[in-house]
């Protein structure tokens, strides 16, 4: 059992959890993830480790309610226990001094970007970050990202805060202004990562994206998380989660991630039915 020691609501249906897992806290590096299972009937879901506190023996994860498991997790709080947490999984982000590194986070994707921004900063990079959300209320980790970056740009799709538009527009502006960018990391919804990769591709800027496919075991056994990268099958749990964004077959990933739409909807309906009063406006 893994105890939740702290819970913070970052935005509507977006929560930060600190979970007691001292060994993982000690070992994890930027870019790695955990797989967790809430209870005996639970499914195994992967979540990026955002931060860790060695002294307290905790890891930090950030979760948006998008399906049954994340909704149930959203209902849990400090003092509750998660049945299984396994990690740190995946390869850590390759960190070096690229000169100028641009960190792009879209929506909940800002959560996995944060530890990478920090690690890049620590390695001596000039860190320029761009974070975006649909609207101001959904924006997360602005303060933390500002601290981790030399410069931070904020965008909202509806213009309710910061730059009105998409993160890629800011990225394009930086390129157009002649910024010598050595490295871009973009994490967020798949269409956003595809857009970031398309933006940097003409300029041949090394661009990494962190993929979040459906996983089951997460330890290199089942093969569920395969994606096509550079025309070859790669397994996100052991070969990733980060890949060269210019080589990822995003269309395939989008379709694969929809494999269980019907079942996910059914599971959510069951949950809302049983919970009665609580309403999920998705």
């Amino acid at each position: 059992m893994y105890e939740i020691t702290e819970k913070v609501e970052l935005a509507h249906t977006v929560y930060l959890f600190k979970i007691k897992a001292p060994l993982i806290a000690r070992k994890r590096k930027a870019g790695q993830f955990v797989v967790l299972r809430l209870n005996e009937h639970g499914e195994r879901i992967p979540l990026t480790i955002v931060d860790s506190d060695n002294a307290a023996g905790t890891i930090t994860i950030i979760v948006q309610e998008v399906g049954k498991t994340t909704a149930m997790l959203g209902d849990m709080g400090a003092g509750d226990n998660i049945l299984d947490v396994v990690g740190p999984l995946g390869r850590p982000t390759h960190i070096e001094n690229f000169g100028v590194a641009v960190c792009v986070g879209g929506g909940i994707g800002t959560a996995p970007v944060l530890p990478i921004a920090r690690a890049l900063k620590e390695a001596g990079n000039k860190v320029v970050s761009i974070i975006g959300a649909r609207n101001k209320g959904l924006l997360i980790l602005e303060k933390e990202m500002r601290e981790a970056s030399d410069t931070l740009y904020v965008t909202t799709d509806d213009g309710s805060y910061g730059h009105h538009g998409f993160v890629t527009q800011v990225l394009q502006n930086l390129i157009d202004e002649g910024m010598k960018i050595g490295f871009v990391v973009g994490i967020g919804p798949i269409p956003m990562m595809r857009a970031v990769s398309n933006t940097t591709k003409p300029y041949d800027i090394l661009t990494m994206v962190s993929l979040n496919p459906i996983m089951v075991d997460g330890t290199g056994m089942c093969g569920a998380c395969r994606v096509t990268v550079g025309g070859k099958n790669q397994f996100v749990c052991v070969d990733g989660p980060e890949f060269n964004g210019h080589e990822v077959n995003y269309e395939e990933l989008i379709l694969r991630n929809r494999s269980y739409m019907k079942e996910e909807k059914m599971a959510m309906e069951e949950l809302t039915y049983h919970e009665g009063a609580k309403c999920y406006d998705k």
């Binding site: 790695q32 009937h41 395969r226 096509t228 052991v238 379709l255 599971a267």
Partner: protein, 472 residues
């Protein structure tokens, strides 16, 4: 045994093991065979003529004293029989169910030369079940602690065998398991209807009661490394990390929704209980027309699992002919009874999807058998221009696994072959790294439960010797 009695015994017909009716069992996940009754077991045990030089013992990868335990069964001493088996085999209820006895002990049984061999596997299963169901599981007396600790990577058949043998030799053992349940392939791979999970768990419980410590959710290499184990008080490490990522055919459309690797399909249904969805949270696509690609035991397990998820049709696509099917005859027979179809001498060329990226058909080509290849089997060759399509909304690719990369990735001084399998001395399980032993599928590629257990047994002996002598 006098010749007259031998003759009498050889007249006893092989006892048939009762099983669930095919029409009924295909609607549930309960175990197919019910097992022998005590009377049947005693009768079957009498068919053993108690050879002075029994070949069966040599046919068993863990060298169970087969005639001895069978004699105990014939005398009605069922619990004693189980104890006898457990001297050499820590997981008899498992092996009695999933060992390919027809290729091992029963293959060399002398009775089998003239008729049907003694049903050694069924008798093993009977003794183990009897002991468990009658609450008479005995914990053997353990020697004093040797002062040595051993860590085992992976709680599958190999790792559990090593752990059981080493505690019996007086060493302390901690098993680190990556998944949330101990048992490895016995839990995620082999279906409930062939090996009930409660049986696996009771065998794991038995090891725990003997003092084996099992740590779940622990991915060795990522969390702690083998080098850390060796410098933090463990004198030896056994790596039994098992099968790795599945092979695919690298044909178009293989990543469409609805195309599974057998590992994933079986893990979803067995370990995650997707057949109970939505009571269990993990879903699986219940195909209308399911096609399983491959002809081994994993293919049969996948196909028979699919049959239980209410499809219209489940078929096996295999590129050679029936004679070459590597699966156990019993599995093929059970599958056919349950309605499994075989599309032999057929090979997939392409998976075809609909506009949403979901599988709708498979383009196949007919094959014919040519000259024998290096495996001695006749090589299948395409019949030009014989392409045709079959409808399918779920395809399960069961053509084998590579090696799990996590240990070699994080312990580079353990030597691996070109496929990533750990290289060992086959007699001792010793790897290229001092103090590190290995066995099971991470060494062999895809093999059987009992071969992994045999590896574990040899490695345990060699570990014990290493701990006592310090000689590598």
């Amino acid at each position: 045994m006098d010749p007259k009695e031998t003759k009498e015994r050889m007249k006893i017909p092989k006892q048939v093991m009762p099983e669930q009716d095919p029409g009924e069992r295909v609607k549930n996940f309960f175990e197919v065979p019910y097992g022998y009754t005590a009377e049947q077991a005693m009768e079957e045990a009498k068919r053993c003529i108690q050879c002075k030089k029994p070949l069966c013992v040599g046919g068993c990868p863990v060298n169970i004293d087969i005639p001895w335990f069978i004699r105990l069964i014939s005398e009605g001493k069922f619990v004693e029989a189980a104890h006898k088996i457990k001297e050499s085999n820590g997981l008899p209820a498992v092996c009695g169910r999933v060992c390919p006895q027809e290729d091992q002990c029963e293959k060399v049984c002398i009775i089998g030369k003239k008729g049907e061999p003694v049903s050694i596997g069924r008798l093993e299963r009977f003794a183990a079940d009897y002991e468990r169901e009658h609450g008479e599981v005995r914990i053997p007396e353990l020697p004093k602690w040797s002062g040595k600790k051993v860590s085992v990577v992976g709680a599958g058949p190999a790792g559990l065998t090593v752990a059981g043998d080493l505690v019996k030799k007086g060493h302390k053992v901690t098993v680190f398991e990556a998944l949330h349940t101990a048992g490895g392939v016995l839990m995620y791979g082999i279906p409930e209807f062939r090996l009930p999970k409660k049986i696996v768990q009771s065998e794991v419980e038995y090891l725990k009661r003997m003092g084996v410590d099992i740590v779940l959710n622990s991915v060795v290499g990522k969390l702690e490394t083998i080098d850390e184990f060796l410098s933090n008080g463990y004198s030896a490490v056994f790596v039994g990390s098992g099968a790795g990522l599945p092979y695919f055919m690298n044909i178009p459309g293989e990543n469409l929704a609805g195309v599974y690797a057998a590992n994933e399909y079986l893990t979803r249904v067995n370990l995650m209980k997707a057949y109970q969805f939505p009571e269990a949270d993990t879903p699986v696509i219940r195909g209308r027309k399911v096609v399983v690609i491959g002809g081994g035991n994993t293919a049969m397990d996948s196909a028979r699992t699919a049959l239980r998820l209410c499809p219209e049709e489940v078929s096996i696509v295999y590129r050679r002919s029936r004679e070459e099917l590597p699966a156990r005859v019993e599995e093929i027979h059970h599958g056919e009874e349950e309605g499994l179809k075989f599309r032999l001498l057929t090979n997939p060329k392409k998976f075809i999807g609909d506009k949403d990226g979901r599988l709708k058909a498979i383009e196949c080509v007919r094959m014919e058998l040519g000259e024998p290849d290096e495996s001695g089997r006749r090589r299948p060759v395409e019949v030009k221009g014989s392409e045709f399509c079959i409808d399918a909304d779920v395809a399960i690719v069961a053509i084998g696994n590579g090696a799990n990369p996590l240990i070699p990735q994080t312990t580079p001084d353990i030597k691996v072959n070109k496929w990533g399998n750990i290289t060992v001395n086959p007699d001792t399980g010793r790897t290229s790294k001092r103090g590190v032993f290995s066995g099971g599928d991470i060494v062999r590629g895809g093999a059987t439960v009992i071969l992994a257990m045999g590896d574990g047994k040899k490695a345990a002996d060699s570990i014990d010797e290493y701990l006592k002598t310090g000689v590598w």
